[in-house]
Amino acid sequence: MSDFIPAPIAQLPWKTILLLFVMASFGFVVLYSAAGGSVSPWAGLHMGRFGVFLAMAVVMSRFKESFWKTMAFPTYIVIVIMLVGVELLGAVGGGSQRWLNLGFIRIQPSELMKVAIILAVARFYDLLPPSQIRTWGAIWPLFALLALPCALILLQPDLGTTITVFVGALTVAFLAGLPLRLFIGGGAAVAVLAPIAYFFALEDYQQRRVTTFLNPENDPLGSGYHISQSKIAIGSGGLFGKGFLNGTQSHLDYLPEGHTDFVFATMAEEWGLMGGVVVLFCFFLLFRWGLGVAMKAKTRFSQLTAAGLTVTIFFYVAINLMMVMGLAPVVGIPLPFLSHGGSSMMTIMICVGILMSIDRHPGRQGGAFE
């Protein structure tokens, strides 16, 4: 085959592209049904965006590791500035705002921060001499990097994204080799502090989401409505679903946000458990590829970045699916490749692009401190 196909094309990670394409196409099918059997308004746009962002990812895969390394901190700073900008715009415009309108696309800086924080933290541990990994000096810069973005995103307020950013950074730190007892101790502290945080830190609507999540039937018409209806959609789908275009929960508008955050429920209603298993399997392949890229990477920065980005995508999927199945509160995180939404798809595809770049350029053995 390689005889007929030009080298640059043959070298593309076709397996990965095929996987992504399958998932986005399934997204297309689900969104087509969610719109009542119509390409507009969601399915067509979804596929179009996927094409554009896939091209972007392929282009990104040509960049070398050194490029990402140099970009790590500047990108981080730019996005923090954008976050401040969003906050200011919101203050001026009155009311909270999460995006910057660039005309052709509305960018959510908090989305991009999910990527930027991974790059920045990975870069930091890349720069940190190995001997210092068990020192205080390995910890405080991590929190310094997290403080501003987390504070700004919480202000929006967007708890789901804050948690993703926070946990993404922690995962990189964990992989970088911070002492294990810190994580165990931290986990214990969270267990103790969570109830306190619930009562003092969370806003009213966030508190309600948590209580509703714990007991959705208590408030079937309020915020428990989302979870109840989503479970009804998934549960009524059964093993093989009600069939393509036959979902009643989504078509009769009982399922809210059936094309964005709750797209999995829309899918499950029509495709059943089988559809769900296929989606889960695709994600499994994606993460296996992502972690495989991290394992194969030779430099510390690319190891940490690849693993961090994979975990970031994983968080999208895990939190979203837990939410639609009633295992997590409603936090407003879309499902990669299936949910309709430009901002999140861009983030995911940037992650994919960087992963492809690392896949292509595993680097030389050793890190900055040889």
Partner: protein, 654 residues
């Protein structure tokens, strides 16, 4: 934090791959958890969620059944159903009450009074009870609401049937009316049909008594609806089973005629078929319009009915008790005859009779001269009865009264009937703990004192006098003629009394003007004038305040020589029997010659200010403007009226 050993880059790589494996394992763990969770929801709990999904999708609405018709003896509708577009509010589905009501008010052009009623009912109603906004809408208004449904949660426009009473007020008391089930009724029997908009149950009268028979079985409509309540398509419909029709013994035309003929008076007309006991007419006026009640009556209209001193809300044919006055004299005469009094025995009437230490007067101050039984009846001489009643005693009279149906309760399907009093010594002892005196006999014999009857009883009495049989009134049509027991009254006695009663009308009697304007039908009757307060005889005419005037009564049957119809007319505070017998005359004329009777009525109605409906409308308008004025005065936006305007209030009796 400082570790003893230095950590090399190679060790870090090892740590990384170990920890990355842990992360990968955790991911797989989460993946398995999610797959398990999904399998649990979609397979183990599939049935439950399928059911929930169906109950989301499918909306079952009950269709109120059409009520059974009430028809008269000739098959004419007394109560039927008309197709109706209506709009209701279901309070617990309302989101923004104020806005919704305001929008509806604009779409349906509701007036202030409707809004007042809707808001009042919304406040009072339990959350699940539908509150009627409007009925009888045209298609445009109905469509205007229907298309805005997604923005009006809690509003329910429906196409259905509503109860209709073609003769309106004429039939109000007897049929009663229908209305939505109250919260108590729903608690007692929590059937969802009770809170379905448009479903009405019988609230009074025949509608209430025969509820089970009339109500029918609700239909059901299964529709697919969106989360916002928009109907996508109909799935399956089960038709309603209409209630069974009921045929009444009434002649609705006669009923309507009688109601109209009563005019502005307060009173009752009861006409019976002597042969079967069928009640042809049971009218009580003034009345209410059962259509207004069934549609949800406005405050103003209800207030007007409640404040009216002619008590339109009371069924006077069964629940008003009157002293029967001289109408009992034929009955008393029958008692005399049975006790052995010769009809030829006479007494001299000089205008009164001394009984004990009190002089009882005859209605005719100058006296009647020599009076025998016949004259006692047709001239209604009181002295004749004073005299012989004392001789015969009260017991035979009371027994005869009971035999002829006074003081009795009848087996007719009405929510309640008052059966009045036929006093006798035992009753008096029990009730007032005193011995019977001669003056009690004297009072009773002319239908005064403790004696009280309702107009239906008077009609039954005249039917029994007319036939000598134990006529039992019926309201429900039955083709089989009942077998009537005889009352065991000597036919000769009956004949004698019939003759005397004929003379009341056709001879030298007290009601010459009651003669039927017909060639071959003669009516027999008896007048009665019952005192309300202890005024001197003949003082209770039209020159005193309405509520002190004498009641006017008349009992009759026709044809006098072969009785077919018996009737009683009572005009409350009519000023004397002269108010009653013209009504009886015209009503009986209607049975034989409708045109002639209608001619009389048309002339009369012109002088009264129109038909019942027209007069009610005028009255309503006057009442409304009076209320508005009162409100304005109370609010200080209008000057108080001059004191003289109070006089107008007492002038309503003629």
């Amino acid at each position: 934090m400082k570790s003893a050993k230095t950590i090399s880059s190679a060790m870090q790589t090892l740590t990384f791959s170990r920890r990355a494996t842990v992360v990968g394992g955790l991911q797989i763990g989460v993946g398995v958890l999610l797959a398990g969770r999904m399998a649990y929801i979609s397979v183990a709990e599939n049935e439950r969620y399928k059911l929930l999904s169906e109950s989301n999708r499918v909306n079952l609405t009950l269709v109120p059944p059409r009520r059974g018709w009430l028809i008269d003896r000739n098959g004419k509708p007394i109560a039927n159903n008309k197709t109706d577009f209506r709009v209701d509010i279901i309070p617990d589905r309302l989101r923004d009450k104020k806005k919704t009501v305001a929008t509806l008010a604009e779409l349906l052009a509701l007036d202030a009074e409707d809004l007042e009623r809707i808001n009042r009912e919304l406040e009072q109603a339990s959350s699940f009870q539908p509150v009627q906004v409007a009925t009888g809408l045209d298609w445009e208004a109905y469509a205007a609401v229907s298309v805005r449904l997604p923005d009006l949660p809690g509003v329910s426009p429906r196409q259905g049937f509503s109860r209709n009473y073609p003769s309106g007020p004429a039939i109000g008391h007897l049929v009663g009316y229908v209305g939505t089930a109250s919260a108590e009724e729903y608690k007692e029997k929590p059937d969802p049909i009770l809170i379905t908009p448009g479903y009405k149950i019988g609230k009074d009268g025949l509608e209430k008594i025969f509820e089970d028979r009339l109500q029918g079985k609700p239909g059901a409509k299964r529709v697919e609806v969106t989360a916002r309540g928009k109907i996508v398509r109909e799935l399956r419909t089960r038709a309603d089973v209409p209630g069974k029709a009921m045929q009444l013994t009434l002649d609705i035309d006669l009923q309507e005629y009688a109601a109209r003929r009563l005019g502005t008076q307060s009173g009752s007309v009861v006409v019976m078929d002597c042969e079967s006991g069928d009640i042809l007419t049971m009218t009580s006026m003034p009345s209410f319009d059962p259509n207004s009640f069934s549609d949800g009556i406005g405050v103003t209209e209800y207030g007007m009915l409640r404040e009216d001193d002619h008590v339109p809300l009371l069924d006077k044919s069964l629940k008003s008790l009157f002293p029967p006055g001289s109408t009992v004299k034929p009955m008393v005469a029958l008692a005399f005859l049975e006790a052995g009094l010769s009809p030829d025995e006479s007494v001299n009437c000089n205008g009164g009779l001394q009984v004990g230490n009190r002089r009882f007067r005859c209605w005719k101050r100058g006296g009647h001269g020599r009076v025998d039984m016949a004259k006692g009846i047709y001239q209604s001489c009181d002295v004749y009865f004073y005299h012989f009643a004392q001789k015969i005693g009260i017991n035979p009279i009371a027994l005869m009264a009971n035999r002829l149906g006074l003081g009795q309760k009848y087996p007719i399907p009405v929510p309640s009937q008052f059966y009045g009093t036929v006093p006798d010594p035992a009753w008096l002892r029990k009730k007032y703990d005193r011995e019977w005196q001669a003056y009690d006999t004297v009072n009773t014999t002319i239908g005064q004192g403790y004696m009280l009857v309702n107009p239906t009883q008077l009609a039954v009495m005249s039917a029994r006098i007319a036939t000598g049989k134990n006529v039992i009134p019926r309201l429900i049509m039955n083709q089989k003629k009942p077998v009537m027991e005889t009352l065991n009254i000597d036919p000769e006695h009956l004949l004698y009394v019939h003759e005397a009663m004929s003379d009341v009308v056709n001879g030298p009697g007290t009601a010459g003007r009651a003669r039927l304007p017909l060639e071959n039908v003669k009516m027999a009757g008896k007048t009665g004038t019952a005192q309300v307060v202890n005024l001197d005889y003949g003082r209770g005419g039209n020159d005193v305040a309405w509520k002190y005037r004498d009641h006017g009564l008349f009992v009759c049957f026709a044809p006098y020589d072969n009785p077919r119809y018996a009737a009683a007319v009572v005009i409350e505070h009519g000023g004397g029997s002269g108010a009653a017998y013209p009504v009886a005359r015209d009503v009986l004329t209607f049975l034989y010659d409708r045109e002639k009777a209608m001619d009389v009525l048309t002339g009369l109605e012109k002088s009264w200010g129109g038909t019942i409906q027209e007069r009610m409308d005028t009255k309503m308008a006057a009442y409304r403007s009076k209320k508005q004025l009162e409100k304005a005065i109370a609010e200080g936006t209008a000057p108080p009226p001059p004191a003289a305007s109070d006089a107008a209030e007492t002038g309503g009796g003629d």
